[in-house]
């Protein structure tokens, strides 16, 4: 496994001068131009910015789905850029939870089976797996909807299944990409309350990308991206 070298004064997530370049030469596209960002355990961070500002690229790197071109990303003190693809997969499997943009549930698969999926890859035995998945669905208020497939659920319910799938593993960090993107205001508030609850009660660190300032107010900290750089980093409404 991966040996962690985290010390007490280290942040859970550390980005140091991270850049990301797609393509080479003339056609090179600089998505990130040097990001420095620390996120501590238990934080609830909202990432904002116009499209093309680099926030999605940054999320992919934070989520260990991608590696930086230059600079260092340390997760729990581990330099992610130096890990192999399989090592990064293991990191995601055991420490990270994802709520993808547009839900991304498995079609024609029941809510329960969708939620069980990450546990299957963790090798959790069937009985325990089922119990934990049921519990996670209950947490997101979908008790009684376990056997429904995504096609039979409303958008809000689908999003809650996606959240249940992300939290069923009790991850260290939850990455949510526009979790309220396709929902009306009432549903959005439900989802945000749910995330806030998970952050406060379970101490899960949450990094959330959003376009809506209303939703960003639920977070304890707002990071604004512009042209591949961190434009603003505010805590509780106060700039740092």
């Amino acid at each position: 496994m991966i040996a962690f070298s985290q010390t007490d004064n280290q942040s859970l997530i550390e980005l140091q001068g991270v850049t990301k370049v797609y393509g080479t030469g003339q056609a090179a596209m600089h998505a990130l131009r040097g990001i420095d960002l620390n996120i501590d355990e238990g934080e609830f961070v909202a990432v904002m910015g116009p499209s093309g500002s680099g926030k999605s690229t940054c999320m992919n790197i934070l989520g260990c789905l991608d590696t930086p071109t230059a600079g260092a990303y340390k997760f729990k003190g581990i330099e992610v850029g130096k890990l192999t693809r399989n090592q990064r997969t293991r990191l995601r499997r055991f420490y990270l939870g994802f709520v993808f943009q547009g839900y991304n549930l498995l079609n024609r698969t029941s809510a329960l089976e969708n939620v069980e999926l990450p546990l299957i890859y963790r090798g959790v035995p069937a009985g325990v797996r089922r119990a934990r998945a049921l519990q996670a669905l209950k947490t997101v208020g979908l008790k009684g909807w376990e056997s429904h497939t995504p096609g039979e659920l409303s958008g809000g319910q689908e999003q809650r299944v996606a959240i249940a799938r992300a939290i069923v593993t009790e991850p260290a960090v939850l990455f949510a990409d526009e979790p309220t993107g396709n929902l009306d205001t009432a549903r959005s508030r439900e989802i945000m309350d749910l995330l806030t609850g998970l952050n406060c009660d379970r101490g899960i660190t949450i990094v959330m990308v959003t376009h809506e300032p209303d939703m960003a107010t639920y977070a304890k900290r707002i990071v604004r991206f512009l042209d591949g750089l961190v434009e603003k980093d505010e805590r509780n409404g106060r700039a740092t």
């Binding site: 989520g63 994802f98 993808f100 799938r165």
Partner: protein, 401 residues
């Protein structure tokens, strides 16, 4: 984990029943064809063997001349009756010896005539060739000794001359000889060479020699070896005996030939087996085509499920796990095809065996091989699509529409 993967694969197959069925059709047909060919071929081989056995098991043919068939040299020394007697007396483990001379003669009854094979021999001939009398009786000793004008006829002769009616006691004319029918042979049908074994008239050898050939020669000596005894040894012993009787010096070649029916049997079954192998090879090609069909569908499936693969990879599925998932799916699919093919093949070969009148011989080996082969087809043709799935970039895959 593997069990989970298999369950997952089954679930995926169940979701696309129609497509799955079409995918495995090639495998079903391939496996079905191979097993059917081998089973029917096996049945045909058994049938050939049985027919040869029915011609007289452990049969040896002692013929004059260096080689059997055309091209016998003119100075061939023919056998006499006492050659056969000597074989019976001096060679151990001989069951029966039948001296045989025969030629094609036109048989006449009333206004019917029919060209048939007239064979001069004795009652041992029936024993050696494994034949029995359906109606009537064998030759009596006095008839054999005296060369009486009596005959035993086969089914075909009966049909051609008497219109199939029972005709014991009737007289048929063979050239200048008029002889009384005393027995009718049990029908035996065609032999493996396609010759009608029922187109025959048997008369006592002495009668044949006196009234038809006009000499004391015996054209052929048929010998049957005792059950369980070695035909090779008998063959060797007869050869040595005949060399001695013919006063051949060690430097002389044999001027006669002792042939084993097993040699003929081997040759004939060999032909059947070769044909079976050829047909099976052709059938195996369709298995290959079936495999390509599976690859095609698996590739489509990978493209169709790009998002799903992206989710799995992002959530924590290792490359090897995604690879395994798709590989298992392909193997489960093709094995399924194999199983259906086996059932189909067994049904159709029972039916075909019935139609072609060959025995149905269940061949466990080919069923197992065909099944394993179909699974292997899944592994081979599923590997490339599975690899393609496993190598996907999760970010790209998640974005895929």
């Amino acid at each position: 984990m593997l069990w989970n993967t298999i369950l997952l694969a089954l679930r995926e197959i169940k979701r696309n029943v129609m497509r799955s069925v079409l995918t495995i059709l090639g495998i079903v047909i391939g496996v079905g064809a191979v097993i059917t060919m081998v089973t029917i071929g096996g049945g045909a081989t058994v049938q050939v063997r049985e027919q040869i056995a029915s011609m007289g098991s452990n049969l040896l043919m002692v013929s004059p001349g260096k080689r059997l068939g055309p091209g016998q040299s003119s100075n061939t020394v023919l056998f006499k009756l006492n050659d056969g007697e000597a074989i019976l007396r001096d060679v151990s483990s001989i069951a029966a010896v039948a001296p045989v001379s025969s030629q094609s003669i036109k048989a006449v009854f009333g206004n019917q005539n029919w060209s048939t094979q007239v064979t001069g021999s004795d009652n041992q001939y029936l024993k050696v060739t494994n034949r029995s009398i359906r109606t009537g009786r064998q030759f009596s000793d006095s008839e054999l000794r005296a060369g009486a004008a009596v005959c035993i006829v086969g089914e075909t002769v009966l049909k051609k001359l008497f219109g199939g009616q029972e005709s014991l006691g009737g007289n048929i004319r063979l050239e200048k000889l008029s002889c009384q029918v005393i027995g009718i042979l049990e029908a035996k049908g065609q032999n493996t060479m396609g010759m009608d074994q029922d187109d025959i008239v048997v008369i006592p050898l002495r009668t044949y020699q006196r009234r038809i050939s006009g000499n004391q020669d015996v054209a052929l000596i048929q010998v049957s070896v005792q059950e369980g005894a070695s035909t090779d040894k008998a063959q060797r012993d007869i050869r040595l005996l005949m060399r001695e009787r013919r006063h051949l010096s060690p430097s002389d070649d044999d001027n006669f030939n002792v042939m084993d029916m097993k040699e003929i049997a081997k040759m004939l079954t060999g032909t059947t087996q070769l044909l079976t192998a050829l047909l099976s090879a052709v059938a195996a090609v369709s298995l290959l085509v079936g495999g390509i069909g599976i690859m095609n569908i698996m590739l489509v499936s990978v493209t169709e499920r790009t998002r799903e693969i992206g989710i799995r990879l992002a959530i924590g599925a290792l490359e090897s796990e995604v690879l395994m998932q798709f590989l298992v799916e392909a193997v489960v699919l093709s094995s399924f095809g194999g199983l259906i093919g086996i059932v189909l093949a067994l049904t159709s070969s029972v039916w075909l065996a019935n139609m072609l009148r060959v025995p149905f011989v269940f061949n466990t080996g080919i069923v197992v091989i065909a099944f394993l082969f179909s699974a292997a087809v899944g592994v081979i043709f599923g590997y490339f699509p599975a690899l393609k799935a496993a190598r996907l970039d999760p970010i790209e895959a998640l974005r895929y529409e």
